[in-house]
Symmetry: C2
Subunit: 147 residues, 2 copies
DNA sequence: GCATAAATGGAAATGCTTTCCATTTATGCT
DNA sequence: AGCATAAATGGAAAGCATTTCCATTTATGC
């Protein structure tokens, strides 16, 4: 938790109860979620909580590298906590199709291949985004997906 | 063009002037575009053209593998023509940040790494999506991006 | 040609996300 | 501790990409 608080501070953001609650939510759940899902849950304990506040804060946390943002089903966006030691160090995430758990994949998948890609296509690579889907160990043993 | 027409037929879709116009648009432009962009252009030559028609057809073509669908800026979706010999054969696309040109990258970038990823994470891979961004040769020589 | 299911256009609805703005609050300074 | 101030927040309303509805038109097989 403290490291995420620190990241907020470094981004010149204030530490508010709402932000702490959002962080706590993701620390506890460990899976990806939409702003609305977070809002529905936190609204109960926080009393008053605006949906725009959740959207704003989650997007800010995404900008800071605290949350990963992925395009889920039905053109909606999901966010998940990035637990990488240093989020600045380029890496990827894999998402469990069973329980929506988010996990880091150290190292860059494209880095080692970039030369080949550039040779093949004639392009100069400037960036990439990878969405890995899979099943985490506990979901493999259960039934193989669904949620 | 004929191969895309064939793909539409195989998908039990009728060959309409609108569909042909959309295909022609992408054949000519070769870059990715939103339904609205396509609509604005084709509306002129087609006289009457409904925006929902463009959305519907582009999404259908995406389902058939004719168009690639990528999430662009500002939560909008862009489509680009897939020119791979056989779109069913798994491959990736790279998009030029300069001119939005879409190009195929043969082979799968994750295939050769999947064992490593699975070993590292404990996940069983079920799928992946890769968005490669780069600059095509002509854009490299011009200025380095922008559009 | 003709029948028919598919395609289309325009208007309206949907629904995620953002903006506006008045009020509240975290933070730095004294 | 109290204060000033810029940032954060909530609620309502707006924005806007995308989809749905439905009456009309059209491609296609016979």
């Amino acid at each position: 938790m403290q490291r995420y608080i620190r990241m907020l501070r470094e981004g010149k953001f204030k530490i508010t109860p709402r932000r702490e609650a959002i962080l706590a939510y993701f620390m506890k759940e460990g899976k990806y979620a939409t702003p609305e899902q977070v809002w529905k849950k936190l609204r109960i304990s926080l009393g008053r909580l605006g949906l725009p506040t959740v959207y704003r804060n989650m997007e800010e946390m995404h900008q800071l590298g605290i949350l990963v943002k992925v395009e889920g089903a039905e053109n909606r966006f999901y966010y998940g906590l990035c637990r990488a030691e240093d989020p600045q160090v380029h890496h990827h995430h894999i998402i469990c199709q069973g329980c929506r758990k988010v996990q880091e994949v150290e190292g860059c998948l494209v880095g080692s291949l970039s030369k080949q890609i550039e040779a093949k296509t004639g392009f100069k690579l400037t960036g990439h985004t990878i969405y890995l889907q899979g099943l985490c160990q506990s979901c493999i043993t259960v039934d193989g997906g669904g949620l």
